[in-house]
Symmetry: C2
Amino acid sequence: MIQISFPDGAVREYQDGISSMDIAKSISEGLARKVLAAKVNGQVWDASRAITADATLQLITWDDAEGKNTFWHSSAHLMAEAVEALYPGVKFWVGPALDRGFYYDMDLGGRQMTDEDLIQIEKKMNELAKQNNPYIRKGISKQDAIQYFEEKGDEYKLDLLSGLTDGDISFYTQGAFTDLCRGPHIPATGAIKAIKLTSISGAYWKGDEKNKMLTRVYGVTFPNKQELDAYVLMLEEAKKRDHRKLGKELSIYTMDDDIGQGLVLWMPNGTIIIEELEKLAKETEEAADYKRVVTPHIAKESLYITSGHLPYYQDSMYPPMELDGTKYYLKAMNCPHHHKIFSAELRSYKDLPLRLAEYGTCYRYEQSGELFGLMRVRCLHMNDAHIYCSKEDFAQEFRAVNEMYLKYFKIFGIDKYVMRLSLHDPAKLGKKYIDEPELWIETEEMVRKVLIESGTPFVEVQDEGAFYGPKIDVQIWSAIGREFTLATNQVDFAQGRRFKLEFTNKDNSPETPLIIHRAPLGTHERFIGFLLEHYAGKFPVWLAPLQVKILPISDKFMDYALAVKAKLRKAGVRVEIDDRSEKIGKKIRDTELMRVPYMLVIGEKEVAENQLSVRRQGKGDTGTQLVDAFVDLVVDEIENRKSAE
Amino acid sequence: MIQISFPDGAVREYQDGISSMDIAKSISEGLARKVLAAKVNGQVWDASRAITADATLQLITWDDAEGKNTFWHSSAHLMAEAVEALYPGVKFWVGPALDRGFYYDMDLGGRQMTDEDLIQIEKKMNELAKQNNPYIRKGISKQDAIQYFEEKGDEYKLDLLSGLTDGDISFYTQGAFTDLCRGPHIPATGAIKAIKLTSISGAYWKGDEKNKMLTRVYGVTFPNKQELDAYVLMLEEAKKRDHRKLGKELSIYTMDDDIGQGLVLWMPNGTIIIEELEKLAKETEEAADYKRVVTPHIAKESLYITSGHLPYYQDSMYPPMELDGTKYYLKAMNCPHHHKIFSAELRSYKDLPLRLAEYGTCYRYEQSGELFGLMRVRCLHMNDAHIYCSKEDFAQEFRAVNEMYLKYFKIFGIDKYVMRLSLHDPAKLGKKYIDEPELWIETEEMVRKVLIESGTPFVEVQDEGAFYGPKIDVQIWSAIGREFTLATNQVDFAQGRRFKLEFTNKDNSPETPLIIHRAPLGTHERFIGFLLEHYAGKFPVWLAPLQVKILPISDKFMDYALAVKAKLRKAGVRVEIDDRSEKIGKKIRDTELMRVPYMLVIGEKEVAENQLSVRRQGKGDTGTQLVDAFVDLVVDEIENRKSAE
């Protein structure tokens, strides 16, 4: 008999060799139907795999991130099975799960795949799914595996095999399809009830443009039709709200080949949004006793050796500028610069917590294939700050940062969010992570405690910490339910010591501060990309580049229009007049297209009565108002940063 | 007889071969006594040199920049004569005039010069000046010149001679001293009435650290004692107001070896000043219908080839970062980035003038020897904007920019200023300047016309234009009379065409805009350096990092102090409490040292009467005030950006 411990603390005895699925069945058949995989001693396994010793067990369903991941990975295998059935002789490279869905790279021997093919593959996949074939795992020796793929003539899997260790190799088979795979997989294909292949693209083998171009097919699957329908609807809405499309239509930003990929030029309209966001951040941070600093965008190599960015982060940095025997790097993060400001003066416990804030611009050399509109760029304007504090102050400071996040979420109408606590991997100490095993465990526990005590929803993720400490990534969902990873809040126990930062504590002894790195609004680039989708370009008045447009019905009313404009402008409102000789209908349509929150139509009647006909974006005519009343209304909406409802 | 034309338009006839000095004497002996040199056909000559053909003539006195320059160059010769008399065998390298004063580099054969030596040299110089020896020019063949210095064993002058062309070589002799020199010089040593040798430093021969270290002696001279006294007083005051000293004392900025030379880290106090200046600029520019943009700090090589920065400006740029076959450069100017924003959308004459503004950060690789505190740095935050306009709009736009300068001067109490119109040199077209001779003349004339019509004081300088057009540098004088070159206002007829910028004009045809580059507040670095000296660190309230300090006489009054603080903070005032257990006298002294404008002393009486004892920086106790009255007073001072008087 073996002892199985469950997440709720319960411990039960089972037959040695029992599978997670059988355990699930022993609890309830309903539960068993939902099980996709199981976490055994922290590792995700096939639900059918035998457990042969005492273990902790967590049953994994669609509701878990690992459940979706396994589901989509198994769906990639299902797609491969369908493709092989339709196009015999096809060879496969890799087929991973993505954040949302999956893809498989394949060599179709020169065949061009079309949208029509996707429909056929989808049909075949549905057919195969209905057969409810189990995913069967088989350990295999390296020699046998090589022989299998040599007989099949599959150079891609042979290439993959060359990198694997004998004894660690497994095949998975469902129906007529067998793949080299580490797993895990869902129990059987029948769980895949709704299938959508979304796109085809080319992808160089191993991402190297000197290699052959393979065909990459993307898809997404769900355990029921309703979720697929909702997802397709969301995709369609997301397409309409695509920040690249809106960014161009609303003159928010542009890019240019002579500047460089991933380097955003912010047009006047985008700059207004940037400045409003900075104003909000400055007000919020000033109220929380932050101090602002300004630092250069470059520094000498020695700074980044001290910080550990060289070598830990080198791959993401632009190459150095070498001059007079010195190497200068563009900064990829602001922290080392802020540490230098901390150490520029003697610090006492009375000066702490010291909170240094800067909208610092950082440069990261993302691979060109990964660049995407504003979401993945090479120049990042970060809402950055570093909080230097003692251990005693840590919990309070960390909690205050979390509360700042919640305050911002409220302003932007972000209802759904989750904090992702990213931890280190002990196996990678000294490589990916600073080699301080005890401090890792201590600070991870401190952060976990704050999150639990403050009732913040969070999940834990292994092996995704920063190199200097654990971090919290904040995931938020836009109004149409799309997920964005946005802000960050990190604890750093390492850099303080690396930079020899010290303050004199109450006992008059030198002490190294803990450092909190935080960026609640993330970067302008990603946050404005998110906001464009979230608001579909219909920004609340305080953020709208143009807040009010005055539409005189004819030139006769220009004097009045100018007087209204002057009044609004004096009150700090961004306002323009449409002075074209166009019909009022066209003026309204054009202004709607630019998503201007308020339109003021002015004709004979309005002038006579010192009134305005007020149209609200998306709501149409809202009646007439006295000029002063309208000014008060719009100023109130701006000053209180009200959401459009 | 020859015809001589004077600046006032008069033309007179003189004997062929007459000297400028003789012409001056023929006008008046008083004038002749003041003549230091003469500008003949635009070139500065010795006043004693014979004029042998019709010419334009401008007599040069101490009041002219060229007069001071000649005076100081002659003073360098006088110093060399004194040094040679005192230390026979000394060898000289070069001895130029500076913006203020002169230096001479010399090889003393291993002798260390001391401050005591300077006194002796000064004494000797005074003695030699009284002899009133004339500076006598003698043309000499290269062979004879080489023979002279070979006999003297002077390898430095021989090195200089090797670069000169026969027929173009002259010696100057005054008293017992003869030097290889192109001239010109003042008539005789007697004009030098007041002498001050200011410092000694080491200087590598030809600025190359592999070469021998020479001794450089700096000095300054004047035609009368009063001007020297005023100058010495100004130097002493400048020393007290040294922006590097104040910058450290007031925690304005710091530098760090690991960041790099010339790269400023702005501390919280400096950042407050930066943000106040940016706020002022944004308000001013918004009122003038500027639009703000934000652009990256790097761009690809191709951008700078188009702009002409490569090769015209390459020496001042950081070297490239090379990656994936592409070279990226740090931007040395914002203009090309702004041009890309101009060209990102179709532009019509209705969109013009388009004024794009950005506090852009630029990077220039100044030689390390030239770096100096905030005045000469490698990272520059520029109050930049580019105005794209048609030729018809040019005069109005250019005048509006000039008016903006004057508005700023008033706010900062800058009473003395002059605009320096820098023109091109026709001989350097295609090398230092874009090769467009006609456009140079046309735009220079446009700018001159605006300056004359608007009654702005200005001087013209040859061969100092930007490579793309004429520019105006603004020279201002600080409160203690020191001169700073600060802001810039440039016309650009070249880049519009290079970038193929176009707008559709009223005739529906494409037209290239003129571009005005302007930076009225210059860079944060230099302007804050200037302000530190100008105000001696005693900033007006609106600029002061800390505006009010509350000094409770004892802990008993802390509640009241906190209430006053809350009230001031709510009104937007930067306020702190000195809560140390120190005597009130010490609290006042420490706060005075930090140049905080207002100190509020709180004791028994103040609490009882809801009052404050108000001390004003530099004025001491100004009596008691009710709390609300004081809040109103300080808010008014801030909002109206009042100067401290």
